[in-house]
Amino acid sequence: MIITLVFLAALLAFFLGWILSRTVQVEPWVADGGLLSDDLPDILTTPRVALGIFLAVASSVFALSISAYHMRIEWGSDWLAAPSPALLWVNTGVLVLASLALQWSWNAARRKDGDSLRRWLYIGGALTVAFIFGQLLVWRQLYVGGYFMSANPANAFFYFMTGVHGVHLLGGLVAWFRCTRRVWQGAGPEAVGASVELCTIYWHYLLVIWFILFSLLLTT
């Protein structure tokens, strides 16, 4: 649980610091004296804060999975490392490109360049779908190779972790689809810029998570 606790400690330290900075010098019993304004800065719009908190929740899921992964290795004696098909490297590249494409789409949104926004948004989504198909193909390769879920805990964790990551990405694709539909219907950069931004941040986050999971799967 060390990994989970480190994650939580970092989160709580941030939260405690924020709470203390907003509450220590305040005398709440004073009427209309004016209190330290504790509105979040304007840059933290409601959707951005919502995404941030959702990412904290998702990180909790991944941190706990990684903790469980280590504990299961340590406490069982039957761990046989699962193979890492070469296709995983290709998939990783595809996901990096997907993240980059969305970044360019976001950049285009900030430049108010509707054509570029649309193009990169489509490409980003297509690359993500390709990544998910790639992951399914990896599952298929492992399955054909006899690496069933039930055969070994390493396999089980492989399917579990890639599955949880994939489901998060599918959830992201729902948001991407809603955004893309609006673009399709002719919405400009002003209208969809904020949505593209949220998608991009979420994609970058899932890319980082994928790097962590992938390196974990490679090293154990």
Binding site: W29, D32, L35, L36, V57, L64, R72, P153
Partner: protein, 595 residues
């Protein structure tokens, strides 16, 4: 400000809160069923939670009937008994308490108390309730399938969870896991809403340190829940894989009926770590909103500002943080590394410090207060008693050497029912008696309420206090029947069990009286007016009672003070609502403060 020694320049005026667009309902379905109004969603949550809670109460009576009068009822066999125990625990902890405190009270009071029109994401809020509703339905389906619901105890420990001999190892386990997964997904949607709304939708002047402690409690509890429920989700998913796909996350190699089971090498201890990493914060997910609500009720009905408001806030935050590092005190006898025991005993005792701060502050709020023994106040004071009582036995169980002999005895049952069942339920009642007038415009009946309170308070003590003695005498929990236990357990234990059962039945009837009161007073209760308790917080200052769609009138209220301006010296009335500017406060006449 000058006389307080502060530089006026350090302050910035709070931001003007822009008006939000509200989804308006146009038909019966969108008004009452798929409503996006937080108040309606709150009532949907509350009705569902209380209904399923009453069902769990019925289960507990069935458990007690068997324990008090063994083998007198043919309906209850060992299989059913274990299923009742399991479902009673799970329903009460997750589907009643968590859902009612956060989904019910959270939805109703967050927007009203912080001066918002509604939740930040009304549609997601609605979805959250319907996920919860579906999770309850999935849970209940288990009673109608062959084999019935799981009987592995609410802690769902593998390998027992999936081993032959435990009731409901096929469909029962699956439905429980699906139900929990749906609940968690639904809760995450609701929880995001509560946090965002509190962070972003406070009205002008409602700074963090002017929020009622109810909101602080709900805020911290939601944070805990958002970070702790993932542990349960991960555990649930892995159990599902073990069950459906034959993996061995948790299931060790075992022999059943002379054959080796398909599992090998899994770690039951891993499940316990994941489960209690959720399970212990869960205690505080229930307790923190209760702490907040009880603080507000004590202040209002004692006509005094809450003692040590800032300390109360920091104690909530400290308890929230510490609650993540005490989980393994549930596992002293699990076979984990014994050195952990010392570590977790220490953190467990440390958490008693902020908790004690809160208890002292409640008592000091009452000190020299103008106490009115209204129904909410009775329940709030009842909470202090039961909570302190249950908390002190927690100090016993937090110590490894004391816990080891008491593990899995009735001492533990007595402890957690006192601290986690009776205490929060006392607050739920206090809250319902306190806010029912705002929700319906009518008071709950006083006489029925007093009968309800005294029966519940004395009755629950009669139920749970003797259980501590049963535990010290060595009576194990979860047993269907004890068989011949002489000379280890005296015969008087059976008499005590019979007394407890009779008390439990009486207490259960008192709860039915409460339900009747809630329904009856809806039509026949005395009209309450908008602010029957002369309370200060914003929900009592709405234009209409009950509050309409959008909560407040044309303009959102502006907040000038904290919600604890009771009995302010020099003021004409003994309460000053949060939205009254200093220049509008009426000065006292010569004859002093008026109530």
């Amino acid at each position: 400000m000058a006389e307080l020694g502060h530089e006026a320049t350090t302050y910035a005026p709070p931001r003007e809160q822009p008006e939000m667009e509200l989804p308006h309902a146009h038909s019966f379905v969108t008004t009452y069923i798929f409503s996006q109004d937080a108040k309606t969603i709150a009532i949907q949550y509350a009705i569902t939670a209380i209904s399923v809670g009453l069902f769990a109460l019925l289960l507990s009576i069935l458990i007690r009937l068997q324990l008090g009068f063994p083998n007198s009822f043919s309906l209850i066999d060992p299989t059913n008994y274990l299923q009742y125990v399991t479902m009673h625990g799970m329903i009460m902890v997750v589907y009643l308490l968590t859902a009612l405190f956060l989904g019910g009270f959270g939805n109703y009071f967050i927007p009203l108390m912080i001066g918002a029109r509604d939740m930040a994401f009304p549609w997601m809020n609605m979805l959250s309730f319907w996920f919860y509703f579906v999770s309850v339905i999935i849970l209940m389906i288990a009673f109608f399938i062959p084999g019935g619901p799981t009987g592995a105890g609410w802690t769902l420990y593998p390998p027992q969870l999936m081993s032959e001999g435990t009731p409901g190892i096929h469909g029962g386990v699956l439905l429980m896991m699906f139900s929990l997964a749906v609940f968690i997904i639904g809760f995450t949607m609701g929880g995001l809403n509560y946090i965002i709304t509190i962070l972003q939708y406070r009205t002008r002047g409602m700074t963090l340190m002017r929020m009622p402690l109810t909101i602080w409690g709900i805020f911290m509890a939601t944070m805990l829940a958002l970070l702790a429920f993932p542990a349960l989700l991960v555990a649930v998913l892995m159990v599902l894989f073990d069950h459906i796909a034959g993996t061995s996350f948790f299931m060790p190699a075992m022999f059943s009926m002379g054959e080796q089971t398909p599992h090998e090498g899994g770690s039951p201890l891993l499940f316990q770590h994941l489960f209690w990493f959720f399970g212990h914060p869960e205690v505080y997910i229930v307790a923190l909103p209760a702490f907040g609500i009880v603080s507000d009720i004590l202040a209002t009905h004692a006509r005094r500002n809450i003692f040590g408001y800032r300390m109360m806030v920091w104690a909530l935050v400290a308890i929230g943080g510490l609650s993540f590092v005490v989980w393994a005190h549930h596992m002293y006898v699990s076979g984990m590394n014994p050195y952990f025991g010392f570590l977790f005993a220490t953190t467990t005792l440390v958490i008693a410090v902020p908790t004690a701060i809160k208890v002292y502050n409640w008592v000091l709020t009452l000190w020299h207060g103008n106490i009115r023994l209204t129904l909410p106040m009775l329940f709030a004071i009842g909470f202090i008693f039961t909570f302190v009582n249950g908390g002190l036995t927690g100090l016993f169980l937090g110590n490894v050497t004391v816990d080891v002999p008491l593990s899995d005895t009735y001492f533990v049952v007595g402890h957690f029912h006192m601290v986690m069942a009776v205490a929060p339920v006392m607050v739920i009642y206090a809250a319902i008696y306190h806010w029912y007038p705002k929700i319906t415009g009518r008071m709950l009946d006083e006489t029925m309420g007093k009968i309800h309170f005294w029966t519940t308070f004395v009755g629950t003590y009669t139920i749970y206090y003797p259980m501590h003695y049963l535990g010290l005498a060595g009576v194990p929990r979860r047993y269907f029947a004890y068989g011949d236990t002489s000379p280890f357990i005296g015969e008087s234990v059976q008499d005590l069990n019979a007394v407890i059962t009779v008390a439990a039945i009486i207490v259960a009837f008192a709860q039915l009286l409460f339900i009747f009161n809630v329904i009856w007073s809806r039509k026949h209760g005395v009209e309450s007016g908008p602010n029957p308790w002369n309370a200060t917080s914003l929900e009592w200052q709405t234009e209409t009672t009950p509050p309409g769609h959008g909560n407040f009138g044309k303009e959102l209220p502006v907040v000038y003070r904290w919600p604890y301006d009771y009995s302010v010296p020099g003021a004409k009335y003994d309460f000053i609502p949060q939205n009254v500017p200093p220049e509008a406060v009426e000065k006292a006449d010569d004859d002093g403060v008026k109530a």
